[in-house]
Amino acid sequence: MEPAEVKTPAVMRTPRKVDIDLTSRCNLRCRYCYFFDNSSVTYQDLITAEWLQFFDELGRCAVMDVTLAGGEPFTRPDLRQLLEGIVRNRMRFALLSNGTLIDDEIAAYLADTGCCNYVQVSIDGSSPEAHDACRGKGAFERALRGLRTLQRHGVQVAVRVTIHRYNVHDLEATAQFLLEELKLPAFSTNSAGYLGSCRVNAEAVLLTTAERLVAMESLVRLTQKYDGRISATAGPLAEARMWRRMEEARSAGAPQFPIGGRLTACGCPGSKIAVRADGTIIPCNMLAHIELGRINQDSLAEVWQHSPELNKLRTRSSIPLTEFEFCSGCGYLPYCTGNCPALAYTLIGQVNHPSPDACLRRFLEEGGTLETIWTTPT
């Protein structure tokens, strides 16, 4: 029997957002960095003129936002020139940074552009011990200095806490430090994932099931204490929320979730695309091995609309979870999205497979529980 034809969902004419690894250089070597130690990536930088030419194309494509990461974007000596190119092409930008290289001059410039959505600074704990364990000695103090410099110049700061084995017991103090002492309006969380350098240091860095449970319990309690000022789109807090919904639906025999039962995660290829530091166009920074084209050689609009690899990713959401032996007999299947394709790829070598990392059934089989996480109604 011929397989049913899978129709590619309607896509925008051009991506709305582009994630750019502006450089492959970084002044730190964090033990869980997703970017380094990826054998698929050529760690090479483009010259200024190549990026500026590409930003002109993004302007013609009416891209609205770019997110600049790396590597550490503040290592680029031509950063101001690059940002000028972005603003000239009528886009807004965000920067993902370790915070350690931010000084008054660049912070003042960022504020002056009027087009900086935010600078995300990674702060992994309330003390040098928690933060520096994975990021290196002195990183905490320098990151804080950078963060305060941004605040002083009125630049929007977004703090991201990446949870790992060295800071999982510091979350209460971290929330207090960030929200009360530094008076940040909010912060977001994630956890170290089996990508890049983290694969090399997995045993030392990745949360065990018991530690994951500790992280979920702490974060749920803290979001209640701080009235929603802690957010997450992935990691323990996001999982705690999603898994609770899944458990409630399963217990009640609820109908399948609209996005459940298929590989619907994630939706990124519908609105954004990414570029590696060497100029290779890729679907996502986490799927750096899927090469779609090259900037300034291939038309971005053409790649966006017609790349077979990208369209294959877009049709991933039509693949039912019932196709996978991994999901066989799972009561959560109608409510599950299969989760991150990048983690599925690094963990088992297949993009079109549910990610074992975010599997609720596996979490429970390994001794996890949801009963101790939600002690009060939300």
Binding site: A10, M12, R13, A62, M64, V87, R90, R92, C115
Partner: protein, 98 residues
């Protein structure tokens, strides 16, 4: 309220981002403000060159789209007023010899 004789000009800072199915986003990058609009809004936006009056634009819309309601002029003015409030549009100064 804007008069039918006034001539709007689309602000050059605004990005018209046309999506699928003729829908679009008007995006002001210095503020991050954006407005979603349909095919009629896109046509109005493209017609705001400082030469055409609101009345001219409404007539063009009536000619361009089938089944346009007889409130086309009022609807055009309301849309342009919203854009004016957001500073997406300026009005060409009237030069009527007074």
């Amino acid at each position: 309220m804007l008069k039918p004789t006034e001539k709007p000009i689309a602000c050059p800072d605004i990005v018209l981002r046309e999506e699928f199915d003729d829908w679009a986003i008007l995006f002001h990058h210095p503020s991050g403000d954006s407005v979603a609009t349909g095919p009629v809004g896109v046509a109005i936006w493209k017609a705001m060159d400082g030469q055409r009056t609101l009345s001219d634009i409404a007539t063009e819309i009536e000619n361009q789209f089938e089944d346009t309601p007889n409130t086309a002029l009022d609807d055009t003015i309301a849309f342009v007023e919203e854009l004016l409030q957001r500073k997406f549009v300026t009005i060409e100064p009237q030069t009527d010899g007074l």
